[in-house]
Symmetry: C2
Subunit: 240 residues, 2 copies
C-alpha cells in the first residue's frame, strides 16, 4: 500500500474567466507546494462549482485532495503539508515561527486584504467567469450591507494613499531583509505574495506607487521564486 505521502496531490483552486488562479489563499498553497518541491494537479473551479465538489462539504476553495483525504482552509492545508511531508523543507521551523506567521496573517488578512477588497471588488466581479457573476455580486453586496459594488468602489482612488501607507510594515522589514522571512522567504512571504497575485489578477488601479522600490524589489524576487512561479503575462500592473 502506498504511504499517504506517496499519493498524488490535487488542488482545487478558484479561477477567473481568463483561466488565471486568482485567490490569495490558493497562491499561498501554490508557493508552499513549490517550496516543498511537491508536484500537484491543479483543478481550476469557479465560485458556483464549489457546492458540487465533495458532496458540498466545503464552502470555499482551495481544497487539497490526497487519496481519501480532502481539506480546505489554507492554514489547515499548510499544516497538513508539513505533517505529511516532514522530509521536505518545513514551512514552519518550530511552533514559535508558526505563531509569529499567524500573527502576521492576522494583520495582513485583516487589514491589508480587507482594504484591497474595498478597492478591487468591482474589478473582481468583472474578472470572474460569466456564470459566477450573479452569485459574486449578490454575495458581496450582501457583505457590504446591500450597497452596489459600483457605489462601494466609486471613491476608491481617494483611498489609495491610505492603502499604500498601510503597507509600511512590509517596507520596514524589506529595508532590512531580502524577504519578510529574513534572508530566505518563509510562509509570511507566501501570504503577502499571494495577496499581490490576487490584486495583479484583476486590478484596473495599480496599488503601488511607481517609486516604491523596496516593495518592487521584493515582488520581483518573490515572483521569480521556484522557476518563476509568479510570472504570468496575464498579470496587470502593480505599479502606477
Amino acid at each position: 500500500m502506498a504511504t499517504p505521502a506517496a499519493l498524488p496531490l490535487r488542488l482545487y483552486e478558484l479561477a477567473f474567466a481568463n483561466g488565471r488562479v486568482a485567490s490569495p489563499f490558493a497562491w499561498r498553497i501554490r508557493y508552499a507546494l513549490a517550496y516543498k518541491g511537491l508536484p500537484f494537479e491543479s483543478v481550476p473551479v469557479g465560485f458556483t462549482e464549489i457546492p458540487a465538489l465533495f458532496a458540498g462539504r466545503f464552502k470555499t476553495v482551495p481544497i487539497l485532495e490526497q487519496g481519501p483525504t480532502a481539506l480546505n482552509e489554507s492554514w489547515d492545508i499548510a499544516l497538513y503539508l508539513d505533517r505529511t511531508f516532514p522530509g521536505t523543507p518545513l514551512l514552519f521551523s518550530n511552533p514559535k515561527e508558526l505563531a509569529m506567521v499567524r500573527l502576521f496573517d492576522g494583520w495582513f488578512s485583516g487589514d491589508v486584504l480587507r482594504r484591497w477588497f474595498r478597492l478591487y471588488v468591482l474589478d473582481i466581479y468583472r474578472a470572474v467567469r460569466p456564470e459566477d457573476r450573479a452569485y459574486f455580486r449578490e454575495s458581496r453586496e450582501a457583505r457590504i450591507k446591500g450597497r452596489s459594488l459600483e457605489d462601494f468602489t466609486a471613491d476608491r482612488e481617494a483611498q489609495l494613499p491610505a492603502v499604500r501607507e498601510a503597507l509600511a510594515p512590509l517596507r520596514a522589514q524589506l529595508s532590512r531583509y531580502a524577504f519578510l522571512g529574513g534572508d530566505t522567504p518563509n510562509y509570511a512571504d507566501f501570504i503577502a505574495l499571494g495577496g499581490f497575485h490576487w490584486v495583479a489578477s484583476v486590478s484596473t488601479l495599480p496599488p503601488l506607487e511607481h517609486g516604491d522600490s523596496v516593495l518592487r524589489g521584493w515582488l520581483e524576487r518573490g515572483f521569480d521564486l521556484y522557476q518563476g512561479i509568479g510570472r504570468d503575462e496575464r498579470m496587470r500592473p502593480l505599479f502606477a
Copy 2:
C-alpha cells in the same frame, strides 16, 4: 579575569515624576532580562539627563551597560543579550523567529505606538519629571509641526474607536493562543506588553473597552509573568 557574561548589568531607563519606568522600549528589555533570568541594576533617568551619560554618546535610553560595553537601541540590546548569554533561554529560537518578530514590531511600533502617541502625548507631558517638561514639550511639538500638545490631543476621544479597532490582529492571535508567541510568551509579547506599560504609566483615557476580554486575559497573564514583573499600583486603568 571575569568572562563578559559574569559582569553585572546596568540598565539606564526613562522614568517619570512618580518614579515609574515609563518607556515601551525599556519594558521590552525588562521583560527580556526577566525571561532570561538575568538580574540587573536599574538606573532611572529623565530625558534631560541623557546627554550627560557616557559623554553624550547616546540620544535615547534604554542604555545597557556591562563592564566596558554600553549600547542603546532596544533591538541591539536584545540581540546582545542572546549573544552574551547563550546559556540562558534564548529570546529568538532561530533567525526565522527573529525575522518574524521584527516584522511584528514594524507593525506594532509603526502603527499602534504611533496611534497611542497621538492619544497620550499630553498625558506623557504631565507625567514627566518637572525638569524634563520644557524639553519634552519643545521636542514633541516640533515633531507635530508646531501644534501645541493641547491642540493635537483635543479630539482624542473621537479617535478611540479606530485605535481600539487597530488592535484586531492581537485579538485574532489571542483568540487562538495564550500569548502572541503561542503557548508561551516570546519577544512579540514583550514588545506589545511594553506598549501597554507605557500607556498604563500615563493614561487619563483608558485605551480599551471594558468588555475586551481577549486582551484583558492576555494582559493579566502578561503582567503576572516573572513573579508579577508588570504589577505596580501606580498603573492607571487600561479598561474603560
